[in-house]
């Protein structure tokens, strides 16, 4: 088999499996960028569709594949992270888990601004899915450079290791969040965050506080995570303050005067297993967070609002064999919530049956022709996560 010649026997696993509704003949697990590129070239030539996975924590964060013959597993794309503690940047291979990277950074003055509730999450998957951290913000803000293998088998790089760069098109942005549909990430240069001297958690009742008041508290300069959790009278505002001692103390005093007290750590939104659950992320006008949360709460699930980020996260139990009525209901609620906040929604996890025939990315509107043109440029044979992205790209 041509792929064995390209990758070596140890990287081709003839183990038929069914994933995301696709029947896959084998799993490919290249260990090097060269092998990855060779596999992609070969698959392009043979028009073999690839379902791509890292830690598999975001597998259900996509449309169902329209055709896929093989599984491409990026977890063996491993190399020790190259950490520049002087500059606060690091080059990290795609298969490195966020957990191990965080561990590698503990001895430095820097912290990793990427997060996942799942210990298996890899750097490659997190960047490909643009899995935003509620604490640190969009992944795109921390990707300085990318090494990518294109469907053609060409290995290319964008950006670089420096923190400011306008040399050529910013393809980092295009590939971050492209869900592996334009190329496969080999490694990334990341910008790290200075480790705060102090981290403190405060909380208060949300009930009785106007949405504007909560938003203002979440926007205080040392608050890096402001979340509203719970339902009804149990609804709490939890704030995680981080920074130097004076800044945190100053905000802490002001918040204490508003009734905030020492609190429990903010729970990791979107934590937990991915089966039997429907998760939606609704991006809205920050001032509309409460109206949006109220809409989602009608669904009877858990809702976490991040007012300062204009983000409301809903999580509803939804059995893998849920009936059409239950499925339609959570989708309708998601759409309604987005409309209420003049924003948009993305279904971050759902049983395959609940995603079938639906667009998890919401309404891409008039940009679809352009997005298809871009996909055709980078993946003309349509082998990379076919059908998984917006509008079937």
């Amino acid at each position: 088999m041509e792929l064995r010649a390209a990758l070596g026997d140890s990287a081709v696993h003839q183990e038929p499996l069914e994933l995301e509704g696709a029947k896959l003949e084998a799993r490919l697990s290249p260990e090097t960028g060269e092998a990855l590129a060779a596999a992609l070239r070969s698959c392009s030539e043979q028009k073999l569709g690839l379902l791509i996975r890292g830690g598999a924590s975001k597998l259900s964060f996509a449309n169902a594949p329209c055709h896929a013959a093989l599984l491409l597993d990026t977890r063996r794309l491993l190399a020790p992270p190259e950490i520049d503690a002087e500059d606060g940047v690091a080059l990290v291979a795609a298969g490195v888990t966020l957990a191990s990277l965080r561990e590698a950074l503990t001895a430095t003055g820097w912290e990793l601004p990427l997060e996942s509730a799942d210990a298996a999450s890899t750097l490659g998957g997190t960047v490909a899915a643009a899995a935003e951290s509620p604490r640190f913000g969009p992944v795109r803000d921390f990707v300085l450079g990318l090494h990518v293998a294109l469907a053609s088998g060409e290995r290319v790089k964008f950006g670089g290791r420096v923190v400011k760069n306008v040399t050529g098109y910013d393809l980092n942005k295009l590939f971050t969040g492209s869900c592996g549909t334009l190329g496969v990430i080999e490694s990334a240069w990341l910008r790290l965050k200075p480790r705060p001297a102090v981290v403190q958690v405060l909380e208060a009742d949300a009930l009785g506080r106007g949405p504007g008041e909560v938003l203002a508290a979440c926007r205080r300069s040392s608050v890096r995570l402001g979340a509203v959790e719970g339902v009804g009278s149990a609804q709490r505002v939890r704030l995680e303050l981080a920074g130097d001692e004076t800044a945190v103390a100053s905000d802490s005093r002001e918040l204490a005067s508003q009734g905030f007290v020492a609190g429990q750590a903010v729970s990791q939104p979107e934590a937990g297993g991915e089966t039997g659950v429907f998760r939606v992320r609704v991006t809205v006008r920050p001032t509309a967070w409460r109206e949006v949360a109220d809409v989602l709460l009608l669904g009877g699930g858990e809702v976490v609002s991040l007012p300062a980020r204009g983000l409301v996260l809903g999580s509803f139990p939804l059995a893998d064999d849920a009936d059409e009525r239950a499925i339609s209901s959570v989708w309708r609620l998601s759409r309604l919530a987005a409309e209420r906040g003049e924003g948009s929604y993305v279904v971050a996890a759902a049983p395959a049956s609940a995603r079938a025939g639906r667009e998890v990315y919401g309404d891409p509107g008039e940009t679809i022709p352009l997005q298809r043109a871009i996909k055709a440029q980078y993946d003309p044979a349509g082998i990379l996560n076919p059908g998984r992205f917006v509008g079937g790209a």
Binding site: D84, A85, E86, D87, G88, G109, R140, V148, E154, V156, K157, G160, R161, V162, K164, N165, V166, T167, G168, Y169, D170, L171, K173, L174, S178, P194, S221, S222, G243, D244, T246, A247, S250, D251, T283, V284, P286, T287, G310, E342, G343, S344, V346, Y361, G362, P364, G365, E366, T367, P369, L370, Q371, R372, A373, I374, A376, Q377, Y378, F389, V390
Partner: protein, 477 residues
């Protein structure tokens, strides 16, 4: 009907410049080394006129170049291959401000500083602050992904653009992103910001607004040498502090500034001054000032002055932001480089750059965004002196090579434009460039929108022409 007649029919006679003397001002942008004369300059008033202009250009087979205030420093807004310049300064309305959700919708011709002035009473500002902010436009900022001294804390333009409306090179109007910043699918806003006007013409931008910090403290660290100042920058960054700005002005620049209207009382015998700005709640800013003082003095600062009042603070910044203007006293022309290096390499790179300037016998000075590792070696020269011009270009190339070899890049905020396109291969392979051209081909397969920019001049020969590769077969709409 000639193209000029057609353009006049679209925007009126007062909206088209086509006489030779009218076109002189458009032969170059802030980079006078590269010049190109347009056949006409057209000044639309709205998006519909932009669409009609683009379609008229397409029908006549003429390329077009979007242009804001023309303050760019890489030849990005120059009609290097001829064609029509579409000057967007008349589209200068602030269409909407939403202070609670912290965004504004603006037309591309709004001057950067004017937006911040217009919203200051709401306690908000637009964070990207290029030195040219009193003149440059937000459309230009979007095209170049402009930075500025406060990029260190606030990021560049790309971090402040939520949505765009643009006219594609085929005349189609399209909206990318949204007021909330979310978009379904590829991050097209991220791809367009910094694309130097080669993917279309932005007709509206939804930008993020930032809260004006409660307190701002500006300091001036006086050092005997620029290398010591660079070491202090490294120490401040490693301490975990995130100042709003960390800027270095070297001795040659100090002299030029002190001889000019921008004089700020900088000590002429200092080897360099380091401007440090911190902001935030009053108490926090005060504690940061003390930490910066400790670090600066430990790294050899002779003195650390803290601006006593707003007037002094403005004077410090006027010296920094007016430095390029002050260079006009040294020679008629200025060539500003824009390479970025890993911050830890700043001391050795600065020494190497000064050595290169001396070896080529040039008037080279440095004023730069040290916190980002973004250098601005400025070469003052007279372009009428052909022999000096050759030395200027040769030294510039050597500086770029030195920075790239140190792990850096050739531009941090000015863009590649026509100026640095032939240096792209210092950083990128043919495959890397080809990957970028695929994006261009998705938006502009016929390469009619701001041609001659970013990509090396030899990229578009027969074998690498996007059309020859069949990219033009991909439907745009």
């Amino acid at each position: 009907m000639s193209l000029v007649d057609e353009l006049q029919a679209i925007v009126g006679a007062d909206g088209v410049l086509a006489r030779t003397e009218e076109l002189f001002a458009y032969e170059a942008d802030g980079l006078t080394l590269h010049q190109g004369k347009p056949v006409a300059v057209v000044l639309p008033r709205d998006k519909t006129e932009v669409q009609r202009i683009v379609r008229a250009c397409r029908a006549n087979g003429v390329p077009f170049v979007p242009r804001g205030a023309g303050t760019g420093l890489s030849g990005g807004a120059t009609a290097i291959e001829g064609g029509v310049v579409i000057e967007l300064q008349r589209m200068n309305a602030i269409l909407r401000v939403d202070p609670d959700d912290r965004h504004a919708v603006v037309q591309p011709g709004v001057v950067n500083a004017d937006l911040s002035k217009a919203i200051s009473h709401l306690g908000l500002f637009f964070a990207p602050d290029p030195s040219s902010q009193q003149a440059c436009t937000i459309g230009g900022n979007v095209a170049e992904n402009s930075g500025g001294p406060h990029t260190l804390k606030y990021g560049t333009t790309t971090n402040h653009v939520l949505g765009l409306e643009m006219v594609l090179p085929d005349g189609t109007l399209i909206r990318l992103g949204s007021a909330t910043g979310a978009c379904a699918g590829y991050d097209l806003v991220g791809a367009v910001v910094g694309s130097e006007g080669t993917l279309g013409i932005v007709t509206e931008a939804t930008v993020r607004l930032s809260p004006i910090p409660e307190c701002v403290e500006t300091m001036l660290g006086i050092f005997d040498g620029v290398v010591d100042a660079c070491r202090a920058v490294g120490a401040i960054i490693q301490s975990g502090l995130v100042p709003a700005a960390l800027e270095i002005v070297d001795q040659r620049t100090i002299h030029a500034v002190e001889d000019s209207v921008y004089a700020a009382g900088l000590p002429r015998d200092a080897g360099a001054v380091l401007i440090v700005e911190v902001d935030g709640p009053s108490e926090a800013a005060a504690s940061q000032v003390e930490r910066v003082r400790e670090i600066a003095l430990a790294e050899g600062a002779r003195e650390l002055r803290v601006a006593r009042d707003e007037e002094e603070r403005v004077r410090f910044w006027r010296a920094r932001k007016g430095a390029f203007g002050a260079m006009g006293r040294l020679a008629p022309d200025l060539y500003v480089h824009d390479a970025v290096v890993p911050r830890g390499k700043l001391p050795e790179i600065l020494e190497a750059i000064c050595e290169i300037g001396d070896r080529y016998q040039l008037k080279l000075s440095n004023v730069f965004h040290a916190g980002d590792g973004n250098l601005h070696p400025n070469i003052s020269f007279d372009r009428r002196d052909e022999e000096e011009r050759v030395r200027v270009i040769a030294a510039g190339e050597e500086i770029l090579r030195t920075c790239v070899e140190a792990g850096g890049v050739i531009t941090g905020e000015h863009g590649v434009g026509s100026e640095k396109r032939d240096y792209m291969r210092l950083l990128f392979s043919e495959e890397d460039l080809d990957a970028m051209i695929r994006l261009r081909a998705s938006f502009d397969p016929d390469r009619v929108c701001n041609p001659g920019k970013i990509f090396p001049a030899t990229r578009f020969c027969t074998e690498s022409d996007p059309k020859a590769r069949g990219y033009d077969k991909v439907p745009i709409s």
